[in-house]
């Protein structure tokens, strides 16, 4: 898969002919898996279930878990959405499936 991507990058004029929808979808699903893993780790993980493990790390009168539950996870969510949008818009072009 990785080779495929590089090749397409080198030959941009061939992108229409080389549409690889299955490869594109697989790459997208992989991105989604990773993103959702981070999404769950910061909210359900650091914010709730793993909070006892973060007890030792102090943040402004409380612990890191409290910060993740009330603010940190929101900031990570923002980062995730923008990263995904940026990455997918690049993937669209690499696989030649972007809008005309």
């Amino acid at each position: 898969m990785a080779d495929n991507t590089t090749n397409l990058k080198d030959v941009p004029q061939a992108k229409k002919a080389a549409q690889d929808e299955a490869g594109y979808w697989a790459a997208n699903v992989r991105m989604i898996y990773w993103s959702l893993a981070i999404w769950a780790t910061v909210s359900f993980g650091f914010g709730i279930l793993l909070r006892p493990l973060l007890k030792g790390i102090e943040v402004g009168g409380t612990d890191l878990g409290f910060w993740f539950a009330q603010q940190g996870s929101i900031l990570v969510f923002l980062g995730l959405i923008f990263f995904y949008a940026w990455r997918m818009n690049k993937l669209d072009k690499q696989y030649g499936v972007e809008e005309d």
């Binding site: 549409q19 929808e21 594109y24 979808w25 997208n28 989604i32 993103s35 959702l36 999404w39 909210s43 359900f44 914010g47 709730i48 279930l49 909070r51 943040v59 402004g60 009168g61 409380t62 612990d63 409290f66 910060w67 539950a69 009330q70 603010q71 996870s73 929101i74 900031l75 969510f77 923002l78 995730l80 959405i81 923008f82 995904y84 949008a85 997918m88 818009n89 669209d92 030649g96 499936v97 972007e98 809008e99 005309d100």
Partner: protein, 599 residues
């Protein structure tokens, strides 16, 4: 100028602004009116979507719920923002590619079944009506305070205004009106928070102020705001602010319900159908969350700081000193807000032991019983403090200038009215367009369609007002139930429609119905049938509930049931036809979006 006139001025000016922009935008271009969002920059669209989405629950109710429970209600913060990740990654770009305008149309086409479309419409109506009940609770609080009348009268007047606003309706579609509403809303939320953060911590950014230090009680040095808050609330027998008191299972399920529900609500999803391109749908979700986060990062600070201020006011000399006296409340300026809010019936106090002072403490705490007996306290004397009043009362509690109070009144009304009216429009179009014209009576005339749309709106607002008088919970809690219903019914169907080629018509219908019915019955068993108080079979607490899961958290289980049933039934029945597999393939790639011109 007295406060009442000032409030009137701010509310009047903000409404004049919305109507002015609506008229201006209308005159500018008619097409803009019909296709809100098309040709609009993703940033502008994000701002408008944020205004559309942040309702009475976010603006009026949420910080109050956090203030009185602390960490345990972090679910609202994570849930109502985390849903946008699901929306951006799992739904928005594909639904935009699909290119129709409503959620039920997608479900009807993807599952090649009018029945699936019908079931989707029913799910949408059930979730939206529940949502409106929550909004009406907030509308009642806002109007009651603003007009200085009882909550009930405020709710009735508010219902009439919402109805008029929704019938006038066109305003709703104009993106720039919503941009203006967003600006009013966010200024109204953050300006008082900045003032209060400066007063308490010296930090102008409330989100940072939450983790800064304040003067310690008794004036000895400084401690962190949260440390002090923990100390004074536990002194009064309340649960500590930063600790977890709820079991992990309920907290995880509740957060998950709110997240999935956010990604399953029709009026949010619809915004992403109308952006110009698939890539814009991805960016738009991000920008929407930026504008929502501005309020959501401030909300926990608003909650914590208000709790601190209230406790300080009730115990002016610290929790070890004397409580505030009835005379102080009745005569001193700092307590004037208590007299104003008493008129709404949402705040009250009673000098039970007749000592001329109002002792505010947790009379349900066994540890406090000895202290209370020793001091001659006969129960908590701040007898009523409705959590929904906290955000609106906040600037008065902190003794901020009158114009800030007026601004907050305008912001609260903007949040409640825009979302309530938007939901009424969604319900009426679902009933008249999708249900009656699309399914039951296809030959209906345009005039009859319009009449039935109005009729549906009137019925929905009447039901919501009636239940809003006796609400199943505080505004944000009722809204949370609506999210649970959307989570259990709509989101799984949409997601499987995109990510599985195998789920077929029978599976989708069975899945949606089982998710919806399971969740609805579980909620009714705990909140009363059709939310009528007193008809519930189980108490609405974690310990008393049927499966040990709160009714607000059950939507996540409903969603899992929906996924499992839909997949199981699909495997047991015929495979999806080839043209549906092709449809799914085409939805998955951005190429060819806006197909009407290109292909």
């Amino acid at each position: 100028m007295d406060q009442f006139t000032l409030n009137l001025l701010f509310v009047g000016a903000s409404f004049a602004l919305y109507i002015g922009i609506a008229v201006w935008a209308r005159a500018g271009s008619t097409s803009e009116f019909y296709a809100a969002g098309r040709g609009v920059h993703p940033v502008t669209n994000g701002m408008a979507t944020a205004a559309d989405w942040m309702s009475a629950a976010s603006f009026i109710s949420m910080a109050g719920l956090i203030a009185f429970t602390g960490y345990d209600n972090s679910s609202f913060l994570m849930g109502w923002t985390g849903g946008y990740v699901l929306l951006a990654l799992l739904l928005a770009p594909y639904l935009r590619k699909f290119g129709k305008f409503t959620v039920s149309e997608f479900i009807g086409d993807r599952f090649y079944s009018p029945t699936a479309r019908l079931v989707a419409v029913i799910c949408l109506i059930v979730a939206s009506v529940t949502y409106v009940i929550g909004q009406m609770t907030g509308v009642g609080v806002a109007f009651g305070r603003f007009l200085e009348i009882s909550n009930t009268a405020g709710l009735l007047i508010g219902a009439c205004v919402v109805f008029a606003y929704a019938v006038f309706g066109g305003m709703k579609g104009v993106t720039y009106t919503q941009v203006a509403q967003y600006c009013v809303l966010i200024l109204a939320y953050t300006i008082p928070a900045v003032f209060i953060s400066l007063q308490l911590t010296g930090t102008p950014i409330p989100a940072l102020g939450l983790f800064s230090s304040v003067e310690a009680s008794g004036g000895e040095g400084s401690v962190y705001l949260l440390t002090k808050l923990d100390e004074i609330v536990t002194d009064l027998g309340f649960a500590s602010y930063t600790e977890a008191h709820k079991d992990n299972l309920n907290m995880v399920l509740f957060t998950l319900s709110l997240m999935i529900g956010t990604a399953g609500l029709p009026h949010v999803i619809m915004r992403f159908f109308t952006v110009p391109k698939v890539s814009d749908a991805r960016w738009s979700a991000g920008w929407t969350l930026v504008f929502i986060a501005l309020l959501y990062l401030t909300a926990p600070a608003v909650g914590a700081m208000a709790r601190l201020n209230i406790t300080d006011l009730m115990w002016p000399n610290g929790t070890s000193g004397e409580a505030v006296s009835v005379e102080q409340i009745e005569t001193q300026d700092e307590y004037a807000w208590m007299l104003t809010w008493q008129k709404t019936g949402l705040l009250d106090w009673e000098d039970k032991n007749g000592d001329g002072k109002i002792q505010y403490y947790n009379d349900k705490s066994e540890a406090m019983a000895a202290t209370a007996a020793a001091n001659g306290w006969e129960g908590n004397e701040l007898t009523k403090f409705n959590r929904d009043i906290l955000v609106l009362a906040n600037p008065e509690i902190a003794n901020l200038p009158g114009w800030v109070i007026g601004l907050v009144a305008a912001g609260g009304l903007a949040a409640a009215l825009s979302t309530a009216a938007g939901l009424l429009l969604a319900i009426s179009s679902a009933v008249s367009h999708d249900l009656l014209k699309g399914q039951l009576t296809p030959n209906m005339s345009e005039k009859a369609e319009l009449m039935s749309a109005r009729g549906a709106m009137a019925i929905a607002i009447a039901v919501a007002t009636y239940l809003g008088l006796n609400p199943p919970g505080f505004a944000a809690q009722t809204v949370a139930l609506a999210f649970g219903l959307a989570a259990a019914s709509i989101f799984p169907a949409l997601m499987m429609g995109i990510f599985s080629k195998r789920v077929n018509n029978v599976g989708a219908v069975a899945g949606m119905l089982s998710g919806l019915i399971f969740t609805l019955i579980y909620i009714f068993l705990h909140k009363g049938w059709f939310f009528v108080a007193g008809t519930n079979s189980f108490p609405d607490t974690v310990d008393g509930s049927l499966f040990g899961i709160q009714s607000t958290a059950i939507g996540a289980i409903g969603a899992i049931i929906n996924f499992a049933v839909a997949y199981g039934v699909s495997l047991a029945t015929a495979d999806t036809p080839q043209e549906i597999k092709d449809l799914v393939e085409s939805v998955r790639v951005p190429a060819g979006a806006g197909a009407a011109v290109d292909h």
